[in-house]
Amino acid sequence: MDFAYSAQEEAFRKEVRDWLDIHVKELPTWWRNPDVAGPEIDSQEYHDFSLLWHKKLYDAGFVGIAWPKEYGGRGATILEQTVYNEEMAKARVPGPSNGLGIGWAGPTIMGYGTEEQKKRFLPKILSAEEWWCQGFSEPGAGSDLASLQTRAVDMGDHYVVNGQKVWTTGGHRADWAILLVRTDPSAPKHRGLTYLLLDMHSPGVTVRPLRQITGHAEFNETFLDNVKIPKSMQIGETNRGWYIAVGPLAFERSALASSIGRENTLKDMIAEARKLKKNGRPLTEDPVVRQRLAQFLIEIDVLKYTGLRSLTGQLRGQKPGPETLVVNLFNTELGLRLADYMIELEGPYGQLMRGSKYAINHGSWQYSFLSSRGTAIASGTLEIKRNVIAERGLGLPRSTR
């Protein structure tokens, strides 16, 4: 065991840190100032800012660093990615915009797309000139994604697509979507799906906002009404879309950065608990509160070191084991517990939203609490995550579902 990084990795760390030291000052005051708005600022303003910040990162070569050099990335090693994620988390700066494009659409096109598709799409994903969303879930296909019904009919050189997608995060501002459609209704459900790229500006695409429990409308329902999608926008073989959609799903191996993010949250929580008083004494003197805060410290280290075991496995070229699968579940639930406990610590003041005269810390935690509940559902509910651990990690027989 050895926690040291190589000289090359440390040099890269310095490069990232030096850059951040200068450019962190260019972040708008509201990024960190809870009495203005914080990151939950709605919505166009935040998006505009995030594109500006993206451009700075992009120009400095800090976007898609894991992407191969031939596609405009940096070809960073796993440990350089770790270092980058670590430094970004420590500096508490926002990451690049177009996360779905860079993290999902891009790698899928790299893995399964034609040369033409790669040339056409990859540069503009990286620069965020084209912004991406995902069209997989449907009203009738949530956890049982493979049962989706959006139908694509083969018309020779194009498909005609009809159906409805839902929970399309960022769909209202996206230029492109990765889309999963049914091309063979008579085949078993996993074997009749095809993976397409959808121009969101195509005729027949209607995006309607859905308001979330936060009050914001970040995600949408997307209606597809006789939408023409050229065959040149198909990724991989017809009816093999399911395997493209779930096959390359990268396992969460960046738990180190997650643990730093959680550490930041806990630091803020402890600082807050010192200021908050119950019966005239700071909450940090209450033995029950101390137990809870200490438990969070412990859980964050458990996350960190389990993440490091997983990372080590990756560096050694091993297949992801249970230690990799549990990290994702544990990190998600830890985030939920942290967000919930902060509100609990505030007592009756926990109900007060931004704008209220008596809101603690200008109500900056309430948004985090509400939005955290989405993480228990999005990209695999906690229950599906447990199924995956049991079946893929522990080898239990597939459940009837």
Partner: protein, 378 residues
């Protein structure tokens, strides 16, 4: 950056598992529950032949010179096999303390015997209050010429019935600072005035009440400096907690493995119960507990190996996590097995009982969480 076991450590682990599956079957574990000594001298000798007792001691004292992390890897396997006997108490609780605080003469005198398995030792620390803090030490040692005279009663002394020596934690000074007047003594168990009564425990493990009545101990058997035993003991308690965590992690992993196997085989409603989400989710939760225990314990053991300043905090973090993880895993293990898991014949209860015993050994989760809060200056 590498946070995984080395090839040698993996080999040690594999060899230990194979050896213990053969030499320490559950039949032996069960026999030892009723055995008067509580351990098998035959197995003990075989482990010594493999160099296990010698693992973490330097070569000049008859040891092998491996790291504490190597030991933790071995302890995981011993915990998995529920090896009965004085391994932790002789090697970790006492041997490591002598290595850390003993004079050259004491190290030469005691460590080769511990490393070869000939000398058995037990830590006599806890008293009626059951606590782990200095004010709980009432057993008194008073200077009398070239000797000290010890009076008091120790409880929950592991393997007290077979120990050749006790590492006795005694009060030599009574200042306001309760940590200031503690001294450690190596007491020959055959000394006049020492009496041991075995306590009937849930695990069948032989813990003892040890009464010291006017027991004379030569000054040469004082370990470390007069009145300054507490910091030495503190380090011992951290190492003991981490060693316990490794033991617990191994046991918890056995429970998880056994539960997964059973869930694959046991048919109800025409299908293996492991295909039910209720069972799957239990197993997933157990996996979180067990993987977490493994990670935090390896880190803590690494911290001891490197003498890293973070080891105290790491010890408390690991023990807080493992105390709950092992217990929760054992509860679910029995639940997944249903009726058969509740029987005496099935081995699951052996782990349940060990989990409860280990939960409190060297501090339970509440104790260590408060310590984490203090160390982290919350």
């Amino acid at each position: 950056m590498d946070f995984g076991l080395s090839e040698d450590q993996v080999m040690l682990k594999t060899a230990a598992r194979e050896f213990l599956e053969k030499e320490c079957p559950k039949k032996l574990v069960r026999q030892m529950m009723d055995d008067e000594r509580g351990y098998s001298p035959d197995l003990w000798k075989k482990m010594a032949d493999l160099g296990w007792q010698a693992l973490v001691f330097p070569e000049q004292y008859g040891g092998i010179g491996s790291t504490f992390l190597d030991l933790a890897v071995l302890l995981e396997e011993m915990g998995r096999a529920l090896v009965p006997g004085p391994f932790l108490s002789a090697v970790v609780h006492c041997g490591r303390t002598i290595l850390a605080a003993g004079t050259e003469e004491q190290k030469q005198r005691f460590l080769p015997g511990i490393a070869s398995g000939e000398t058995l030792m037990a830590l006599a620390f806890t008293e009626a209050g059951g606590g782990l803090e200095a004010p709980g030490v009432a057993t008194a040692a008073k200077a009398a010429g070239a000797d000290f005279v010890i009076n008091g009663t120790k409880l929950f002394v592991p393997c007290a019935n077979v120990a050749d020596y006790f590492l006795c934690v005694a009060r030599t000074g009574d200042s306001a600072d309760k940590e200031a007047g503690i001294t450690l003594f190596l007491v020959d168990a055959k000394s006049p005035g020492v009496s041991v009564t075995v306590l009937k425990t849930m695990t069948g493990e032989k813990q003892g009440e040890v009464v010291f009545k006017d027991v004379r101990v030569p000054t040469g058997n004082m370990l470390g400096e007069l009145h300054r035993g507490w910091p030495v003991l503190r380090r011992t308690l951290d190492e003991a907690a981490i060693a316990e965590c490794a033991w617990m992690t191994g046991g918890a992993r056995w429970v998880l493995d056994a539960s997964i196997s059973y869930a694959k085989e046991r048919i109800q409603f025409g299908v293996p119960i492991g295909s039910f989400q209720a069972i799957q989710h239990k197993c997933a939760n157990m996996s979180v507990d067990v993987e977490g225990a493994t990670s935090i314990t390896y880190y803590a053991a690494w911290a001891v190996s490197e003498n890293d300043p973070g080891l105290t905090l790491a010890a408390s973090m690991a023990k807080a996590w493992c105390s709950e993880a092992y217990k929760k895993t054992a509860f679910e293990g029995i639940q997944i097995h249903g009726g058969i898991g509740y029987t005496w014949d099935h081995d699951m209860h052996l782990y349940l009982k060990r989990a409860k015993a280990s939960e409190v050994a060297f501090g339970d989760a509440d104790y260590h969480r408060e310590r984490v809060a203090r160390l982290a200056e919350i």
